[in-house]
């Protein structure tokens, strides 16, 4: 048979397949089942044509066209799975807390953060061992600005200001958390960020609680108590998630580096999403409860909020997180690993 005739004969099918591809990819409305069936037939035919290009002796540009056609049809056939909302409950309440509970990277991030935080707070509070510690970490002007800020703190903001600040805290803090997570890929910058945050926060805390800053210190304590648990946990979680990826890519555990990295990414994603949720919760508390003047929101309410949120976190991470039965694996599921190798 003439090649020209052959191409002409097959061209009708190819054009029809092309029309179906554009219909499927635009997806304005549902495609009828009869068309989907037709799509399958046409796709297999195009595949067969492509397999036989050498036998048919098709010219190269027809071959290129067929490659392109089959590739586009393939991408319509094997589509991305849409968000599976039913799975979210499982991921949120079973998989994520277990993963966090068992993840040594989160433990390490926690140790680093609280260790440096405590050390720095102590150094900054007592003034005998290293008197210039706080000023050398935070800077004299910054410290004065803090004292200034918190001595005037008293009446709180108006309600509108509170709501607006929620948005700001979400935008700013969650963004910083995600940035911390991302920069952990290269391990060192991430560790530096985490340690810097811990030392800086510790120094500020220690300084503000010094007896000489009586009024400002009390106000500071008043402000930070309520949202502290959520926010500090979120910082630790985002650092821990980043550490998981950075660690995977240094210590591959026998996998190829690229595969180990992919695995680390899968394991870290729920942790960092959990951190984002905590940042949002912290922003809500920080905007509405923390700045409330003592007349409206008394100190004990803020304390209760802190206790309640800590309790909630403990329930989530320890009660839900403890691997009660070994059936649900806290690591990446076997299927994912298998699919990757």
């Amino acid at each position: 048979m003439k090649v020209a005739e052959l191409i002409q004969k097959r061209q009708a099918d190819w054009s029809e397949l092309e029309r179906l591809i554009s219909e499927l990819s635009s997806r304005v409305r549902k495609v009828e089942s009869i068309k989907l069936r037709r799509f399958g037939v046409l796709y297999r035919n195009a595949c067969a044509d492509l397999a036989l290009v050498t036998a048919y002796q098709l010219p190269p540009d027809t071959t290129a066209y067929l490659h392109d056609l089959v590739a586009r049809a393939h991408n319509q056939l094997y589509r991305s799975e849409s968000f599976q909302y039913q799975q979210w409950l499982f991921v949120l309440f079973i998989e994520t807390p277990r993963r966090i509970f068992c993840d040594p990277c989160v433990h390490i991030a926690m140790l680093i953060f609280w260790g440096l935080f405590g050390l720095s707070a102590w150094l900054s509070y007592e003034q005998i061992l290293w008197p210039e510690f706080a000023t050398s970490v935070v800077g004299e002007e910054q410290l004065e600005a803090f004292v200034q800020m918190y001595s005037q703190f008293g009446d709180g903001r108006g309600a509108g200001g509170n709501v607006a600040m929620t948005g700001f805290y979400v935008f700013n803090n969650a963004g910083i958390g995600l940035a911390c997570f991302v920069s952990m890929l290269f391990f060192l910058p991430g560790l530096v960020t985490l340690s810097f945050n811990a030392v800086y926060l510790g120094a500020v805390f220690g300084f503000m609680f010094r007896p000489e800053n009586g009024e400002a210190g009390a106000n500071f304590q008043n402000f930070v108590t309520a949202h502290g648990p959520f926010e500090l946990t979120a910082i630790i979680l985002s650092a821990g998630a980043g550490l998981r990826i950075g660690h995977k890519w240094l210590f591959t555990g026998g996998l190829r580096r690229a595969d180990a990295l992919k695995l680390g990414g899968r394991e870290a994603l729920p942790i960092v999403m959990c951190a984002v949720v905590l940042f949002v919760l912290a922003a809500l508390v920080e905007a509405f409860v923390s700045p409330g003047a003592s007349a409206i929101v008394p100190w004990w309410v803020k304390g209760m909020v802190a206790v309640g949120s800590s309790g909630l976190l403990m329930f989530y991470f320890i009660i839900l997180g403890y691997p009660w039965n070994r059936r649900a694996l806290p690591r990446a599921s076997a299927r994912q690993v298998e699919g990757m190798l």
Binding site: K2, W14, A51, T63, E81, G158, A164, L185, L261, K262
Partner: protein, 331 residues
């Protein structure tokens, strides 16, 4: 059948690997040489090639996305603000300042949270929803796929978009250009994309850090027009083709060569055509026992005519097994 079983198998690697694949015969011969082609073997046992997209096309898509997501978002916000204030003025709403402040606060919070979502989650949402494409990618015919050629899932889309921040690094403050010392944490910093470009240049599939972590790649998916065979108006071509001996078989590689020649003929000019054809034609003229002064270009066209446009002999050496031509049927 589980998804894992239906996973397509990928063959990608450095060039020396790819050359070996050519030997298994599954692959179109021209897929082995080009660097940015990736061969995928599908569950239908067919290999086809993807073009991996390069950094600059992807940069364009990213800029378009940025324009669409950020610019459009703030445009909508500003329009809404004007509309609401105009509406409030026109009905002369009398509200106390506290309520007004509260409402303004809510609006502000929504705007900021929306901006957070657009910044961090637009790409993830779009790529999951539209099968690996965002608006910008769609306009530039790009698509994100897993490295094995299958479609990406939501977690991959989220991860690769989170890590974009890393690819935009290092951030440089434009204040440095005018000789000012930027302050730590200055908001005025411009992404240079240096790191992303560096990582892309050093990986096999132009993967940026996000692609790396999520195990994805970006392919170029152009919509090629169906090709046409050359049509000769010159009647001498057909008559010369009939003079070529009937037992001469145009082999597979020779027909590819002829197709390349004829498709580029229009761009070359007669002198260059003669020069190229003269590598081959004298030998053929001798073999066909045609006069020495036959035009070389004309003979090439005649051979093309023989290979593609006229009926070939049945005992074709390349098609000893007659290919089964599948017919499209709806059962």
């Amino acid at each position: 059948m589980s998804l894992a079983d239906r996973r397509t198998q990928t063959k990608v690697g450095p060039r020396w690997d790819r050359r070996e694949q050519g030997a298994d015969g599954l692959q179109a011969p021209n897929a082995t040489v080009l660097d940015t082609q990736l061969t995928i073997e599908t569950p239908e046992h067919i290999s086809f090639a993807f073009h991996i997209a390069g950094p600059f096309r992807r940069l364009m898509a990213y800029l378009l996305d940025l324009l669409i997501s950020q610019f459009l978002y703030w445009l909508i916000v500003i329009c809404l603000m004007f509309a609401v204030s105009y509406f409030a003025m026109s009905i002369q709403m009398a509200i106390s300042p506290e309520v007004a402040e509260f409402l303004a606060g809510i609006a502000m919070a929504l705007v900021l949270i929306g901006s957070f979502c657009v910044t961090w989650f637009y790409g993830a949402y779009a790529e999951t929803k539209w099968n690996g494409q965002t608006f910008g990618k769609r306009l530039l015919s790009l698509r994100v796929l897993s490295t094995d050629g299958s479609a990406i899932d939501s977690s991959q889309a989220t991860l690769r978009n989170f890590f974009r921040l890393l690819d935009l690094m290092p951030f440089v403050s434009p204040l440095l250009l005018v000789g000012m010392e930027p302050e730590w944490g200055d908001a005025l910093s411009v992404p240079t994309l240096g790191l992303g470009l560096l990582i892309m240049a050093s990986t096999a599939r132009f993967s940026r850090a996000g692609d790396w972590v999520a195990g994805t790649m970006v392919v170029f998916e152009p919509q090629l027009l169906p090709s046409r065979l050359a049509d000769f108006t010159d009647s001498r071509v057909a008559s010369l083709a009939s003079l070529i001996p009937g037992d001469f078989q145009v082999s597979s590689s020779f027909s590819q060569c002829l197709a390349h020649y004829v498709s580029r003929r229009a761009y070359l000019g007669p002198a260059r055509c003669q020069e190229i054809a003269n590598h081959l034609v004298p030998l053929l003229l001798e073999r066909f026992q045609l006069p020495r002064d036959t035009d070389s270009d004309l003979l090439m066209c005649a051979l093309y005519h023989r290979a593609f446009l006229s009926t070939s002999q049945e005992q074709d050496s390349d098609t000893l097994i007659r290919p089964f031509v599948p017919e499209a049927q709806v059962v």
